[in-house]
Symmetry: C3
Subunit: 433 residues, 3 copies
Amino acid sequence: MPDSVADLGTAGTAHLTGHRLTRQDVVDLIRRRRPGWSLESPFYNDEDLYRLDVEAIFGRHWFFVGSEPEIPEPGDYVTVEVGRWSVIVLRDDDGGVRAFHNVCRHRGSRLLSDKGGTVGNLVCPYHHWTYDTTGRLLFAESTGEGFDPSCFSLKQVHLRSISGLLFICLAPDPPEDIAEMAATVEPYLAPHALRDTKVAHQIDITEQGNWKLVMENNRECYHCGGHPELGASLFPTIGYRPEDIGPSRRAAYERFLKIDAEMTEIWEREGLPYRQVDRLIDRPTGFLVERTPLDKAGESMTRDAKAACKRLLGDFAQPRLGRQGLHMQPNNWNHLLGDHVVTFSVLPLTPTTSRLRTTWLVHKDAVEGVDYDVENLVSVWRATNAQDAAFVAEAQIGAASPAYEPGPYSPTESWVENFVTWYLQRLSAHLGA
Amino acid sequence: MPDSVADLGTAGTAHLTGHRLTRQDVVDLIRRRRPGWSLESPFYNDEDLYRLDVEAIFGRHWFFVGSEPEIPEPGDYVTVEVGRWSVIVLRDDDGGVRAFHNVCRHRGSRLLSDKGGTVGNLVCPYHHWTYDTTGRLLFAESTGEGFDPSCFSLKQVHLRSISGLLFICLAPDPPEDIAEMAATVEPYLAPHALRDTKVAHQIDITEQGNWKLVMENNRECYHCGGHPELGASLFPTIGYRPEDIGPSRRAAYERFLKIDAEMTEIWEREGLPYRQVDRLIDRPTGFLVERTPLDKAGESMTRDAKAACKRLLGDFAQPRLGRQGLHMQPNNWNHLLGDHVVTFSVLPLTPTTSRLRTTWLVHKDAVEGVDYDVENLVSVWRATNAQDAAFVAEAQIGAASPAYEPGPYSPTESWVENFVTWYLQRLSAHLGA
Amino acid sequence: MPDSVADLGTAGTAHLTGHRLTRQDVVDLIRRRRPGWSLESPFYNDEDLYRLDVEAIFGRHWFFVGSEPEIPEPGDYVTVEVGRWSVIVLRDDDGGVRAFHNVCRHRGSRLLSDKGGTVGNLVCPYHHWTYDTTGRLLFAESTGEGFDPSCFSLKQVHLRSISGLLFICLAPDPPEDIAEMAATVEPYLAPHALRDTKVAHQIDITEQGNWKLVMENNRECYHCGGHPELGASLFPTIGYRPEDIGPSRRAAYERFLKIDAEMTEIWEREGLPYRQVDRLIDRPTGFLVERTPLDKAGESMTRDAKAACKRLLGDFAQPRLGRQGLHMQPNNWNHLLGDHVVTFSVLPLTPTTSRLRTTWLVHKDAVEGVDYDVENLVSVWRATNAQDAAFVAEAQIGAASPAYEPGPYSPTESWVENFVTWYLQRLSAHLGA
């Protein structure tokens, strides 16, 4: 370690005195982490650790970028900005889904700057180099002798569609266990026929917190007392062991036991898989899939727990099917309901800010104003996201204090522990530690 | 020193080429400082030096955070943000004054986000961990087996009230010379009965300059030609030796000599201590206390130098008592008058920005609109602060230039020299140099 | 190289993992640059390389800061902010042109904060130290014994006026080849009598790109398809070799050949030098001077290619004189026309932002509203600058991607290659490589 001003500080104030973390510093931070306790401050504040996260987690793993209904027709695209990467996800002329780096092979100009849209070919705005929807360079003027267009195709990015959910990997050698995830979760997702849906609404918000705080917030319901709207449908005991049910959740848990029994009969009758499969840790592509009951009307995640869309998904005959959940590491969770689907993606923007995108999908034949009302469809998660954003912002500020030290997770925060464990496993693997 | 791009620059351009300062670099900067001359550019611009200031000065010394009248009742609190620290200063249920780190012991969320307010208990907004006003953890749900609440009290911060002025120290071992400061200054402050006052007004402004430039600006009247409103009451020769009085201040100085003689008789008669005690350097807790005359009506620091509040402080029978001053290192100065008190605190925000908080206190029984008019009370210092902010902003920009080199202080800037000397002494002590 | 997190990344992602570049890293980047291909990402994004640019290019070379018509009278000044330097360029009381560092010798306050204006003496706003227009300290109050004002003159900056175009050099030992540039270009510029002009309009815009991307954008017309307004006068084949003319420019090129022959006769008759002199590389002060024809009316760079000002420059009898161009490294280009002059300066603000200043000059006796209309005068370049700013912003974002790799310049981008070659030559010289 160089003789730097930082050396004067203790490890705990490394971020305060501006010491640049070395590989060994990060390895030490990982090694001394106490299982069941929150991470040390640098994981949420340090600039080097942030860049390492972007490179090691988002640069090497599969992560969620959207769903096929966002790009239904040939030429439809969405752009994804993560770290300094910009990626185009588009539907090619043959109806396939592809991803490219959003960088012209001439002088590097970004090709597409909008959040999404439709193109014929991909034409660079700067000097009009033109690529087809497979990334092949079709046209470039005045390129001089010996120029071989075939050497200047757009750079492809690995992409995988799982029942219509789109995941990309920026690494040349993506983790292969995505195949096992696909095989495992598709039977759970298939009945919701996600490829036959359309985007009803989409909201992006910028959260004032490190991306991991946004994920940790999603992975526990210990804070669900702060979500009155969500409480109408989601049981606040999700992730709880019976022995950890506190007085404030006792009544809800009793209802849960009763309704869970009813719903299990329904799922069995409808042939819907429901048993929880937990693969959140010990693998590059972590996920958890399960079907759970919902409270009250039990149909959907709305203010009255009733379906928000008359036109149900797939071949569903009735809406009371509970919630088909898929939680994925590092950046995604999804709620598939009888009448609609909500997908969530978290992307890092800076060490202390993140983008949360929420997308609501309904059956492609559903008619707005007739079958569904957007306000009713989105109001619960729009409110819940705002509440979570406030929690995350305060957690970010507090965890930045030199006085902050890791605290013990509640047993009810076991999925947070799983997220943190997965994250440290992946960082260790990347560092070869 | 590593073989870095910075090596190409001279020491003077180290901040330009982005070299990270080492401990030795800072020691060298301190050693080569020429007494009586301004500091080199990195002290006002370098990010490492800024972080070192926060750690070595604000992290290890007593500094001013407010006064008891800002938190009169049990549960009343103010929050203090300095560097990455967030601190709660509150009145406990027994009427005592305490300070805690504003960080939940669970996952580090900030407990209180407002500038100030009133609470019963301290309830974390995230998972509702609940602490009493002594910082003890009263309640936390679903914490599992073997959880011992007594291990998770809020972390205390050292706090000291001197005649109602509140000072905290973030270090585990605060400088003990605060006791000598208290014993020395309390006889001067006591007659103004600060604990019997209330907040009449408070203004926070963000200055576009390093915190030391804001302090240096406060420590000289060589620039007082730029303060027409303040000039109605404050003699512009404060800090001047007779031989340094220039033509522009000659007349004011003659008036000062005459009025000082009159006031000395009054202070003697009223039994008010007035002799200057200068302990600005050679100690961790530097201060200067003195009572000085005011110009014209001589009563208060207003546009006509007359009292702004009919209800006088303490047991004062008449308002013409001059100015009871207390200047404190590193971040505070105060003017105690016959009718009101003005306190000032400077806190670093970034290397090139600082927060100045100005608070006006009047007798707790004074009635707004009857005994005092807020506009008349605050107008001089609101205008003076704005003028100083402009001076500081230009000093910041100029001192950032690679062409800037330290210049000689005027003999009239001896308190600036004292501030800079104290600062370098404290930095040296911290660096063990 | 230290054992840093950055070591985990490849050179291409050095900026991603926050590694601080060493001198050797920069030397390696320069050495491995492939001639005819664009620069690697760190040159456009890395903070150390940015600071090195400011120090090595703007700190050691002559660069353009404005023209004499911007400061016609004694006491007139403009300020120039580059990197952390602030410079005053002013007309002294004897009518000469001088440059000083905008830093008071007392405590470093900036003396002048406006973009430009008029002063009698230079009076520091802080403590009123007063300098005359030659930089001599005239007055400072209360400076104490042994203070020698002659030791505290403002620091001079080297300045050179070439036919009224002003260039400064911040280094103590400016490159001497400015003399050769002056001798070479003055015969081309003189007929336009720039010292007899006045400022008709000036616009500053902030571009969202590294200063080199702004310059590279100026050095090629391969993108001129994106400039419909400019296309009315400027042939889009500028910088093209006949064999590189593509179908989209064929017709324009045919017109160019015909008009170039006509104009050459006119230039010969009028005794106007026109042959291109290319000294863009292999020297500290790179430049290219030439006179070229304009399309259509051929008179000026307006929407109809007709003169925008009735009062012509110098002794010109008729306006159809084409475009007298001067392109200068590192930061300037100029178009001198029969009726007006447009000057451009690029100054770095941050690694990813730059300031472009465009100034329109007309004969000093021309009367607005009678001889010229400002809207008509400025509309082409105002629109063209906005189009270029959009190109630069996309190039900046794309070149920041870890997926970006240098691409091949078109043969039509030979001046871009010259700019990049000059830049790397100067960086190498600075690094002693």
